[in-house]
Amino acid sequence: MAELPKKPFAWQKWVLGVVMVVGLIISAQATGTNLPMFFQNFGQFTIIFQQMLSPDWSYTAYVVDPLIETIKMAILGTTIGSVLAFPYALLVARNIVTNRWVVGIFRFILNVIRTIPDLLLAAIFVAIVGIGPVAGVITLAIFTFGMVGKLFYEAVETIDEGPIEAIKAAGAGKLEIIRFAVIPQVSNYFVSYVLYAFEINVRASTVLGYLGAGGIGVFLQRALSQFRYDRVGLMVLVIFVVVLVIDYVSGKLREALI
Protein backbone atom coordinates (compact mmCIF):
# COMPACT_ATOMS: atom_id res chain seq x y z
CA MET A 1 0.00 0.00 0.00
CA ALA A 2 1.15 3.52 -0.70
CA GLU A 3 2.61 5.56 2.14
CA LEU A 4 0.84 8.66 3.37
CA PRO A 5 2.36 11.50 1.31
CA LYS A 6 3.94 14.45 3.11
CA LYS A 7 1.79 17.51 3.57
CA PRO A 8 2.68 19.95 0.77
CA PHE A 9 4.74 22.98 1.84
CA ALA A 10 2.31 25.85 2.34
CA TRP A 11 4.55 28.66 1.08
CA GLN A 12 1.56 31.01 0.75
CA LYS A 13 1.09 30.94 4.52
CA TRP A 14 4.72 31.82 5.11
CA VAL A 15 4.64 34.68 2.63
CA LEU A 16 1.48 36.00 4.27
CA GLY A 17 3.07 35.75 7.72
CA VAL A 18 6.20 37.64 6.66
CA VAL A 19 4.15 40.32 4.92
CA MET A 20 2.09 40.85 8.05
CA VAL A 21 5.09 41.21 10.37
CA VAL A 22 6.84 43.61 7.98
CA GLY A 23 3.61 45.56 7.61
CA LEU A 24 3.26 45.86 11.36
CA ILE A 25 6.81 47.23 11.73
CA ILE A 26 6.37 49.70 8.87
CA SER A 27 3.04 50.99 10.16
CA ALA A 28 4.41 51.36 13.69
CA GLN A 29 7.19 53.51 12.29
CA ALA A 30 4.92 55.49 10.00
CA THR A 31 2.55 56.42 12.82
CA GLY A 32 5.38 57.25 15.20
CA THR A 33 4.46 54.64 17.79
CA ASN A 34 7.03 55.00 20.51
CA LEU A 35 7.13 52.13 22.94
CA PRO A 36 9.83 53.58 25.24
CA MET A 37 7.75 56.73 25.70
CA PHE A 38 4.72 54.65 26.59
CA PHE A 39 6.64 53.05 29.43
CA GLN A 40 8.25 56.32 30.54
CA ASN A 41 4.81 57.85 31.01
CA PHE A 42 3.58 54.83 32.87
CA GLY A 43 4.37 56.57 36.16
CA GLN A 44 1.84 59.27 35.42
CA PHE A 45 -0.77 56.63 34.77
CA THR A 46 -0.26 55.13 38.23
CA ILE A 47 -0.72 58.57 39.83
CA ILE A 48 -4.03 59.10 38.00
CA PHE A 49 -5.08 55.60 38.81
CA GLN A 50 -4.41 56.16 42.53
CA GLN A 51 -6.61 59.25 42.51
CA MET A 52 -9.33 57.36 40.73
CA LEU A 53 -9.21 54.72 43.41
CA SER A 54 -10.44 57.21 46.01
CA PRO A 55 -13.74 58.22 44.37
CA ASP A 56 -15.53 61.40 45.36
CA TRP A 57 -18.68 59.81 46.79
CA SER A 58 -20.30 63.17 47.45
CA TYR A 59 -20.58 63.58 43.69
CA THR A 60 -22.94 60.58 43.37
CA ALA A 61 -26.10 62.66 43.61
CA TYR A 62 -25.00 64.74 40.63
CA VAL A 63 -24.36 61.83 38.29
CA VAL A 64 -27.69 60.07 38.76
CA ASP A 65 -29.62 62.32 36.37
CA PRO A 66 -27.05 62.29 33.56
CA LEU A 67 -26.74 58.54 33.97
CA ILE A 68 -30.49 58.14 33.54
CA GLU A 69 -30.25 60.40 30.52
CA THR A 70 -27.56 58.14 29.08
CA ILE A 71 -29.75 55.08 29.52
CA LYS A 72 -32.72 56.93 28.03
CA MET A 73 -30.59 57.85 25.04
CA ALA A 74 -29.61 54.22 24.62
CA ILE A 75 -33.22 53.04 24.87
CA LEU A 76 -34.51 55.63 22.43
CA GLY A 77 -31.67 55.15 19.96
CA THR A 78 -32.00 51.37 20.08
CA THR A 79 -35.76 51.53 19.61
CA ILE A 80 -35.72 53.95 16.68
CA GLY A 81 -32.89 52.12 14.93
CA SER A 82 -34.47 48.70 15.43
CA VAL A 83 -37.92 49.75 14.27
CA LEU A 84 -36.37 51.02 11.04
CA ALA A 85 -34.06 48.03 10.70
CA PHE A 86 -36.90 45.50 10.81
CA PRO A 87 -38.62 46.28 7.49
CA TYR A 88 -35.32 47.24 5.91
CA ALA A 89 -33.82 43.82 6.65
CA LEU A 90 -36.77 42.14 4.94
CA LEU A 91 -36.19 44.39 1.96
CA VAL A 92 -32.58 43.22 1.57
CA ALA A 93 -33.14 39.51 2.27
CA ARG A 94 -32.74 37.54 -0.96
CA ASN A 95 -35.40 35.00 -0.07
CA ILE A 96 -38.01 37.73 0.48
CA VAL A 97 -37.25 40.21 -2.28
CA THR A 98 -36.23 38.41 -5.44
CA ASN A 99 -35.37 41.52 -7.45
CA ARG A 100 -31.57 41.48 -7.50
CA TRP A 101 -31.31 45.21 -8.17
CA VAL A 102 -33.45 46.22 -5.21
CA VAL A 103 -31.54 43.93 -2.89
CA GLY A 104 -28.17 45.04 -4.28
CA ILE A 105 -28.81 48.77 -4.00
CA PHE A 106 -30.36 48.72 -0.53
CA ARG A 107 -27.69 46.37 0.76
CA PHE A 108 -25.01 48.73 -0.54
CA ILE A 109 -26.65 51.61 1.33
CA LEU A 110 -26.76 49.51 4.51
CA ASN A 111 -23.07 48.67 4.17
CA VAL A 112 -22.14 52.30 3.64
CA ILE A 113 -24.06 53.25 6.79
CA ARG A 114 -22.25 50.53 8.71
CA THR A 115 -18.81 51.82 7.74
CA ILE A 116 -19.33 55.28 9.27
CA PRO A 117 -17.72 55.29 12.75
CA ASP A 118 -20.19 56.30 15.46
CA LEU A 119 -17.82 58.91 16.83
CA LEU A 120 -17.85 60.63 13.46
CA LEU A 121 -21.65 60.42 13.37
CA ALA A 122 -21.85 61.96 16.83
CA ALA A 123 -19.52 64.80 15.83
CA ILE A 124 -21.61 65.48 12.72
CA PHE A 125 -24.92 65.50 14.58
CA VAL A 126 -23.58 67.62 17.40
CA ALA A 127 -22.68 70.11 14.70
CA ILE A 128 -26.11 69.84 13.07
CA VAL A 129 -28.56 69.67 15.99
CA GLY A 130 -26.31 71.18 18.63
CA ILE A 131 -24.89 69.86 21.90
CA GLY A 132 -27.32 67.62 23.76
CA PRO A 133 -28.88 64.18 23.86
CA VAL A 134 -30.67 64.49 20.51
CA ALA A 135 -27.36 64.16 18.69
CA GLY A 136 -26.60 61.08 20.76
CA VAL A 137 -29.95 59.47 20.07
CA ILE A 138 -29.62 59.99 16.31
CA THR A 139 -26.12 58.54 16.35
CA LEU A 140 -27.18 55.48 18.31
CA ALA A 141 -30.23 55.01 16.09
CA ILE A 142 -28.08 54.96 12.97
CA PHE A 143 -25.55 52.61 14.54
CA THR A 144 -28.35 50.28 15.70
CA PHE A 145 -29.99 50.40 12.30
CA GLY A 146 -26.77 49.24 10.65
CA MET A 147 -26.01 46.50 13.13
CA VAL A 148 -29.49 45.07 13.71
CA GLY A 149 -30.29 45.44 10.00
CA LYS A 150 -27.32 43.32 8.99
CA LEU A 151 -27.69 40.64 11.67
CA PHE A 152 -31.42 40.40 11.06
CA TYR A 153 -31.33 40.05 7.29
CA GLU A 154 -28.74 37.31 7.67
CA ALA A 155 -31.10 35.51 10.07
CA VAL A 156 -34.01 35.95 7.65
CA GLU A 157 -31.95 34.38 4.88
CA THR A 158 -31.37 31.21 6.89
CA ILE A 159 -35.03 30.39 7.54
CA ASP A 160 -36.74 27.18 6.49
CA GLU A 161 -38.41 27.86 3.13
CA GLY A 162 -40.95 25.06 3.63
CA PRO A 163 -43.57 27.08 5.51
CA ILE A 164 -43.36 29.78 2.81
CA GLU A 165 -44.23 27.25 0.15
CA ALA A 166 -47.05 25.85 2.29
CA ILE A 167 -48.75 29.17 2.96
CA LYS A 168 -48.30 30.26 -0.63
CA ALA A 169 -50.13 27.12 -1.67
CA ALA A 170 -52.99 28.15 0.63
CA GLY A 171 -53.44 31.38 -1.34
CA ALA A 172 -51.37 33.82 0.72
CA GLY A 173 -49.98 37.06 -0.73
CA LYS A 174 -46.57 38.55 0.02
CA LEU A 175 -47.52 40.24 3.29
CA GLU A 176 -49.28 37.16 4.61
CA ILE A 177 -46.23 35.07 3.76
CA ILE A 178 -44.01 37.45 5.74
CA ARG A 179 -46.46 37.63 8.61
CA PHE A 180 -47.11 33.91 9.06
CA ALA A 181 -44.16 32.06 7.54
CA VAL A 182 -41.19 34.40 7.99
CA ILE A 183 -41.66 36.45 11.14
CA PRO A 184 -42.55 33.54 13.46
CA GLN A 185 -39.27 31.92 12.46
CA VAL A 186 -37.09 34.96 13.17
CA SER A 187 -38.83 37.15 15.76
CA ASN A 188 -36.75 35.72 18.61
CA TYR A 189 -33.56 36.49 16.75
CA PHE A 190 -34.74 40.03 16.22
CA VAL A 191 -35.44 40.62 19.90
CA SER A 192 -32.10 39.10 20.76
CA TYR A 193 -30.25 41.41 18.35
CA VAL A 194 -32.11 44.42 19.72
CA LEU A 195 -31.04 43.55 23.26
CA TYR A 196 -27.48 43.07 22.08
CA ALA A 197 -27.55 46.46 20.37
CA PHE A 198 -28.90 47.97 23.58
CA GLU A 199 -25.98 46.56 25.57
CA ILE A 200 -23.52 48.10 23.15
CA ASN A 201 -25.46 51.37 23.05
CA VAL A 202 -25.35 51.86 26.82
CA ARG A 203 -21.58 51.63 26.67
CA ALA A 204 -21.30 53.69 23.52
CA SER A 205 -23.55 56.46 24.76
CA THR A 206 -21.23 57.18 27.70
CA VAL A 207 -18.43 57.78 25.23
CA LEU A 208 -20.62 59.75 22.84
CA GLY A 209 -21.46 62.17 25.63
CA TYR A 210 -17.81 63.04 25.61
CA LEU A 211 -18.33 64.71 22.26
CA GLY A 212 -21.22 66.73 23.64
CA ALA A 213 -23.95 64.30 22.72
CA GLY A 214 -25.56 64.38 26.15
CA GLY A 215 -25.64 62.03 29.12
CA ILE A 216 -22.98 61.14 31.65
CA GLY A 217 -20.22 61.49 29.08
CA VAL A 218 -20.55 65.25 29.30
CA PHE A 219 -19.81 65.09 33.03
CA LEU A 220 -16.97 62.69 32.42
CA GLN A 221 -15.40 65.07 29.97
CA ARG A 222 -15.80 67.98 32.38
CA ALA A 223 -14.19 66.11 35.28
CA LEU A 224 -11.30 65.03 33.10
CA SER A 225 -10.60 68.54 31.88
CA GLN A 226 -10.61 69.71 35.51
CA PHE A 227 -8.21 66.89 36.46
CA ARG A 228 -10.81 65.70 39.01
CA TYR A 229 -9.78 62.07 38.80
CA ASP A 230 -11.64 61.29 42.03
CA ARG A 231 -14.86 62.19 40.23
CA VAL A 232 -13.77 60.33 37.12
CA GLY A 233 -13.18 57.31 39.32
CA LEU A 234 -16.67 57.54 40.75
CA MET A 235 -18.29 57.80 37.34
CA VAL A 236 -16.25 54.96 35.90
CA LEU A 237 -17.35 52.84 38.84
CA VAL A 238 -21.03 53.74 38.46
CA ILE A 239 -20.95 53.16 34.70
CA PHE A 240 -19.18 49.87 35.27
CA VAL A 241 -21.88 48.64 37.65
CA VAL A 242 -24.75 49.78 35.41
CA VAL A 243 -23.24 48.23 32.29
CA LEU A 244 -22.57 45.02 34.17
CA VAL A 245 -26.16 44.76 35.39
CA ILE A 246 -27.64 45.56 31.98
CA ASP A 247 -25.33 43.10 30.22
CA TYR A 248 -26.19 40.40 32.69
CA VAL A 249 -29.96 40.84 32.50
CA SER A 250 -29.96 41.24 28.74
CA GLY A 251 -27.63 38.28 28.30
CA LYS A 252 -29.95 36.07 30.35
CA LEU A 253 -32.93 37.23 28.31
CA ARG A 254 -31.13 36.47 25.06
CA GLU A 255 -30.18 33.03 26.29
CA ALA A 256 -33.81 32.32 27.05
CA LEU A 257 -34.84 33.49 23.58
CA ILE A 258 -32.63 31.48 21.29
Partner: protein, 255 residues
Protein backbone atom coordinates in the same frame (compact mmCIF):
# COMPACT_ATOMS: atom_id res chain seq x y z
CA UNK B 1 -75.25 15.57 -17.18
CA UNK B 2 -71.59 14.77 -17.59
CA UNK B 3 -69.44 15.83 -14.60
CA UNK B 4 -66.74 18.41 -15.34
CA UNK B 5 -63.09 17.62 -14.55
CA UNK B 6 -61.80 19.37 -11.46
CA UNK B 7 -58.25 19.35 -12.84
CA UNK B 8 -57.53 19.50 -16.54
CA UNK B 9 -54.11 19.60 -18.25
CA UNK B 10 -53.99 20.58 -21.93
CA UNK B 11 -50.65 19.86 -23.62
CA UNK B 12 -48.70 20.94 -20.58
CA UNK B 13 -44.92 21.17 -20.75
CA UNK B 14 -42.44 22.54 -18.28
CA UNK B 15 -38.81 23.31 -18.99
CA UNK B 16 -36.78 24.64 -16.06
CA UNK B 17 -34.68 27.75 -16.63
CA UNK B 18 -31.56 25.56 -16.61
CA UNK B 19 -32.94 23.52 -19.51
CA UNK B 20 -34.08 20.49 -17.49
CA UNK B 21 -37.32 19.00 -18.87
CA UNK B 22 -39.84 18.66 -16.04
CA UNK B 23 -42.99 17.77 -17.99
CA UNK B 24 -43.52 16.87 -21.64
CA UNK B 25 -46.87 17.47 -23.32
CA UNK B 26 -49.13 16.14 -20.58
CA UNK B 27 -52.87 15.75 -21.08
CA UNK B 28 -54.89 14.86 -18.06
CA UNK B 29 -58.40 15.02 -16.68
CA UNK B 30 -59.23 14.35 -13.06
CA UNK B 31 -62.83 14.09 -11.95
CA UNK B 32 -64.26 15.30 -8.64
CA UNK B 33 -63.86 12.78 -5.83
CA UNK B 34 -61.11 10.72 -7.44
CA UNK B 35 -58.11 9.43 -5.47
CA UNK B 36 -55.35 9.56 -8.04
CA UNK B 37 -51.87 8.28 -7.32
CA UNK B 38 -48.91 9.42 -9.38
CA UNK B 39 -46.00 6.99 -9.51
CA UNK B 40 -42.62 7.07 -11.16
CA UNK B 41 -38.91 7.05 -10.53
CA UNK B 42 -37.20 9.76 -8.60
CA UNK B 43 -36.65 12.65 -10.98
CA UNK B 44 -39.46 11.55 -13.29
CA UNK B 45 -41.38 14.79 -12.77
CA UNK B 46 -43.96 13.91 -10.11
CA UNK B 47 -43.26 16.94 -7.90
CA UNK B 48 -43.18 19.16 -10.97
CA UNK B 49 -46.65 17.89 -11.89
CA UNK B 50 -47.97 18.66 -8.38
CA UNK B 51 -46.52 22.16 -8.33
CA UNK B 52 -47.90 22.84 -11.77
CA UNK B 53 -51.45 22.22 -10.54
CA UNK B 54 -51.44 25.10 -8.02
CA UNK B 55 -48.84 27.05 -9.96
CA UNK B 56 -46.14 27.05 -7.34
CA UNK B 57 -44.15 26.56 -10.54
CA UNK B 58 -45.10 28.18 -13.82
CA UNK B 59 -45.46 25.89 -16.80
CA UNK B 60 -43.80 26.82 -20.09
CA UNK B 61 -46.46 25.53 -22.50
CA UNK B 62 -50.10 24.47 -22.43
CA UNK B 63 -52.91 25.32 -20.07
CA UNK B 64 -54.16 24.03 -16.73
CA UNK B 65 -57.75 24.46 -15.59
CA UNK B 66 -59.02 24.08 -12.08
CA UNK B 67 -62.76 23.58 -11.97
CA UNK B 68 -63.04 25.03 -15.45
CA UNK B 69 -60.97 28.14 -14.69
CA UNK B 70 -57.50 28.55 -16.17
CA UNK B 71 -54.91 28.90 -13.40
CA UNK B 72 -52.28 29.41 -16.08
CA UNK B 73 -53.92 32.68 -17.15
CA UNK B 74 -55.02 33.78 -13.68
CA UNK B 75 -53.54 37.02 -12.37
CA UNK B 76 -53.05 38.50 -8.90
CA UNK B 77 -56.03 37.98 -6.64
CA UNK B 78 -57.61 35.54 -9.06
CA UNK B 79 -54.64 33.19 -8.72
CA UNK B 80 -54.75 33.40 -4.93
CA UNK B 81 -58.45 32.55 -4.95
CA UNK B 82 -57.92 29.48 -7.08
CA UNK B 83 -55.09 28.35 -4.79
CA UNK B 84 -57.39 28.75 -1.81
CA UNK B 85 -59.37 25.81 -3.16
CA UNK B 86 -56.32 23.55 -3.39
CA UNK B 87 -54.74 22.23 -0.19
CA UNK B 88 -51.19 20.93 -0.28
CA UNK B 89 -49.28 18.44 1.82
CA UNK B 90 -45.52 18.08 1.64
CA UNK B 91 -42.91 15.44 2.37
CA UNK B 92 -41.31 17.62 5.03
CA UNK B 93 -44.63 18.80 6.52
CA UNK B 94 -43.58 22.47 6.10
CA UNK B 95 -44.93 23.62 9.44
CA UNK B 96 -43.61 26.64 11.30
CA UNK B 97 -41.84 24.65 13.99
CA UNK B 98 -41.76 27.34 16.66
CA UNK B 99 -45.45 28.14 16.31
CA UNK B 100 -48.31 26.29 18.00
CA UNK B 101 -50.30 23.63 16.21
CA UNK B 102 -53.34 25.93 16.20
CA UNK B 103 -51.43 28.79 14.56
CA UNK B 104 -50.13 26.44 11.91
CA UNK B 105 -53.56 25.05 11.14
CA UNK B 106 -55.12 28.54 11.06
CA UNK B 107 -52.75 29.64 8.29
CA UNK B 108 -54.86 27.47 6.01
CA UNK B 109 -57.47 30.25 6.24
CA UNK B 110 -55.34 33.22 5.11
CA UNK B 111 -56.83 33.14 1.65
CA UNK B 112 -60.24 34.10 3.06
CA UNK B 113 -59.22 37.41 4.66
CA UNK B 114 -58.23 40.86 3.49
CA UNK B 115 -54.51 41.50 3.95
CA UNK B 116 -54.86 44.16 6.66
CA UNK B 117 -56.68 41.75 8.95
CA UNK B 118 -53.97 39.17 8.44
CA UNK B 119 -51.18 41.64 9.25
CA UNK B 120 -52.70 41.85 12.71
CA UNK B 121 -53.40 38.11 12.80
CA UNK B 122 -57.13 38.64 13.31
CA UNK B 123 -58.70 35.24 12.70
CA UNK B 124 -62.39 34.96 13.50
CA UNK B 125 -63.72 32.79 16.29
CA UNK B 126 -65.46 30.67 13.69
CA UNK B 127 -62.19 29.94 11.92
CA UNK B 128 -60.48 29.01 15.16
CA UNK B 129 -63.28 26.53 15.74
CA UNK B 130 -62.88 25.31 12.17
CA UNK B 131 -59.19 24.72 12.78
CA UNK B 132 -60.01 22.84 15.96
CA UNK B 133 -62.55 20.70 14.14
CA UNK B 134 -59.93 19.79 11.56
CA UNK B 135 -57.57 18.77 14.34
CA UNK B 136 -60.28 16.56 15.77
CA UNK B 137 -60.63 14.85 12.41
CA UNK B 138 -56.97 13.84 12.48
CA UNK B 139 -57.23 12.95 16.19
CA UNK B 140 -54.87 15.65 17.39
CA UNK B 141 -57.32 17.81 19.34
CA UNK B 142 -55.24 17.42 22.51
CA UNK B 143 -52.19 18.94 20.78
CA UNK B 144 -53.90 22.19 19.78
CA UNK B 145 -51.65 24.41 21.93
CA UNK B 146 -48.48 22.33 21.64
CA UNK B 147 -45.55 23.69 19.69
CA UNK B 148 -45.28 22.01 16.30
CA UNK B 149 -41.73 20.80 16.94
CA UNK B 150 -42.84 18.90 20.04
CA UNK B 151 -44.77 16.49 17.81
CA UNK B 152 -43.55 13.33 16.10
CA UNK B 153 -43.18 13.22 12.32
CA UNK B 154 -46.47 11.43 11.81
CA UNK B 155 -48.29 13.88 14.05
CA UNK B 156 -46.73 16.82 12.22
CA UNK B 157 -47.92 15.40 8.93
CA UNK B 158 -51.42 15.07 10.31
CA UNK B 159 -51.27 18.69 11.49
CA UNK B 160 -50.44 19.63 7.93
CA UNK B 161 -53.45 17.60 6.77
CA UNK B 162 -55.56 19.55 9.26
CA UNK B 163 -54.12 22.77 7.83
CA UNK B 164 -55.15 21.70 4.34
CA UNK B 165 -58.63 20.70 5.60
CA UNK B 166 -59.13 24.07 7.27
CA UNK B 167 -58.76 25.57 3.85
CA UNK B 168 -61.96 23.70 2.90
CA UNK B 169 -60.44 22.83 -0.45
CA UNK B 170 -61.91 20.98 -3.39
CA UNK B 171 -58.58 19.35 -4.12
CA UNK B 172 -55.71 18.12 -1.96
CA UNK B 173 -52.27 17.70 -3.49
CA UNK B 174 -49.86 15.51 -1.58
CA UNK B 175 -46.21 15.36 -2.63
CA UNK B 176 -44.71 12.20 -1.13
CA UNK B 177 -46.50 12.76 2.17
CA UNK B 178 -45.26 9.54 3.75
CA UNK B 179 -41.73 9.36 2.36
CA UNK B 180 -40.16 10.29 5.70
CA UNK B 181 -42.48 8.25 7.94
CA UNK B 182 -42.27 4.73 9.33
CA UNK B 183 -44.74 2.05 8.12
CA UNK B 184 -47.15 2.43 11.03
CA UNK B 185 -47.48 6.22 10.81
CA UNK B 186 -47.60 5.87 7.04
CA UNK B 187 -50.77 3.81 7.41
CA UNK B 188 -52.29 6.36 9.77
CA UNK B 189 -51.61 9.28 7.41
CA UNK B 190 -52.80 7.38 4.34
CA UNK B 191 -55.97 6.29 6.13
CA UNK B 192 -56.66 9.92 7.04
CA UNK B 193 -56.27 10.97 3.42
CA UNK B 194 -58.52 8.16 2.24
CA UNK B 195 -61.19 9.09 4.75
CA UNK B 196 -61.07 12.75 3.74
CA UNK B 197 -61.49 11.66 0.15
CA UNK B 198 -64.45 9.40 0.86
CA UNK B 199 -66.29 11.34 3.56
CA UNK B 200 -65.72 14.90 2.35
CA UNK B 201 -65.53 14.14 -1.34
CA UNK B 202 -62.26 16.07 -1.69
CA UNK B 203 -60.32 15.10 -4.79
CA UNK B 204 -56.87 13.77 -3.89
CA UNK B 205 -53.86 13.88 -6.18
CA UNK B 206 -50.96 12.23 -4.46
CA UNK B 207 -47.56 11.03 -5.51
CA UNK B 208 -46.06 8.02 -3.83
CA UNK B 209 -42.83 6.11 -4.02
CA UNK B 210 -44.39 2.77 -3.23
CA UNK B 211 -46.46 0.94 -5.82
CA UNK B 212 -47.91 -1.18 -3.05
CA UNK B 213 -49.37 1.89 -1.32
CA UNK B 214 -50.61 3.18 -4.65
CA UNK B 215 -52.51 -0.06 -5.23
CA UNK B 216 -53.90 -0.15 -1.71
CA UNK B 217 -55.24 3.38 -1.60
CA UNK B 218 -55.59 4.66 -5.14
CA UNK B 219 -58.57 4.38 -7.46
CA UNK B 220 -56.50 5.44 -10.42
CA UNK B 221 -52.79 5.37 -11.18
CA UNK B 222 -50.82 7.74 -13.37
CA UNK B 223 -47.34 6.65 -14.38
CA UNK B 224 -44.73 9.31 -15.15
CA UNK B 225 -41.40 8.59 -16.79
CA UNK B 226 -38.97 11.26 -17.93
CA UNK B 227 -41.65 13.93 -17.73
CA UNK B 228 -44.08 11.94 -19.89
CA UNK B 229 -47.33 10.30 -18.93
CA UNK B 230 -46.76 6.65 -19.75
CA UNK B 231 -49.74 5.12 -17.98
CA UNK B 232 -53.16 6.30 -16.86
CA UNK B 233 -55.86 3.93 -15.72
CA UNK B 234 -57.72 2.28 -12.88
CA UNK B 235 -55.65 0.52 -10.25
CA UNK B 236 -56.91 -2.88 -11.34
CA UNK B 237 -55.58 -2.44 -14.86
CA UNK B 238 -52.05 -1.66 -13.70
CA UNK B 239 -50.45 -5.12 -13.87
CA UNK B 240 -46.85 -6.19 -13.26
CA UNK B 241 -45.76 -5.42 -16.80
CA UNK B 242 -47.26 -1.93 -16.72
CA UNK B 243 -45.60 -1.12 -13.42
CA UNK B 244 -42.20 -2.32 -14.56
CA UNK B 245 -42.59 -0.28 -17.73
CA UNK B 246 -43.19 2.87 -15.65
CA UNK B 247 -40.05 2.14 -13.67
CA UNK B 248 -38.03 0.93 -16.62
CA UNK B 249 -35.73 3.95 -16.88
CA UNK B 250 -34.03 2.86 -13.68
CA UNK B 251 -33.11 -0.60 -15.02
CA UNK B 252 -31.28 1.00 -17.89
CA UNK B 253 -29.50 3.30 -15.49
CA UNK B 254 -28.56 0.36 -13.28
CA UNK B 255 -27.52 -1.92 -16.14
Amino acid sequence: MQAKPVIKFDNVSKTYPNGAKGLKDINLEIMPGEFVVVVGLSGAGKSTLMRAVNRLHDITAGDIQIDGQSITQAKGKQLLEIRRNIGMIFQNFNLVKRATVLKNVLTGRVGYYPTWKMVFGLFSKGDKQRAYNALQQVELADKVYARADELSGGQQQRVSIARALTQEPKIILADEPVASLDPQTTKHVMDDLKRINQELGITVLINLHSVELAQTYGTRIIGIRDGEKVFDGPVASADEATISAIYSGGEEANG
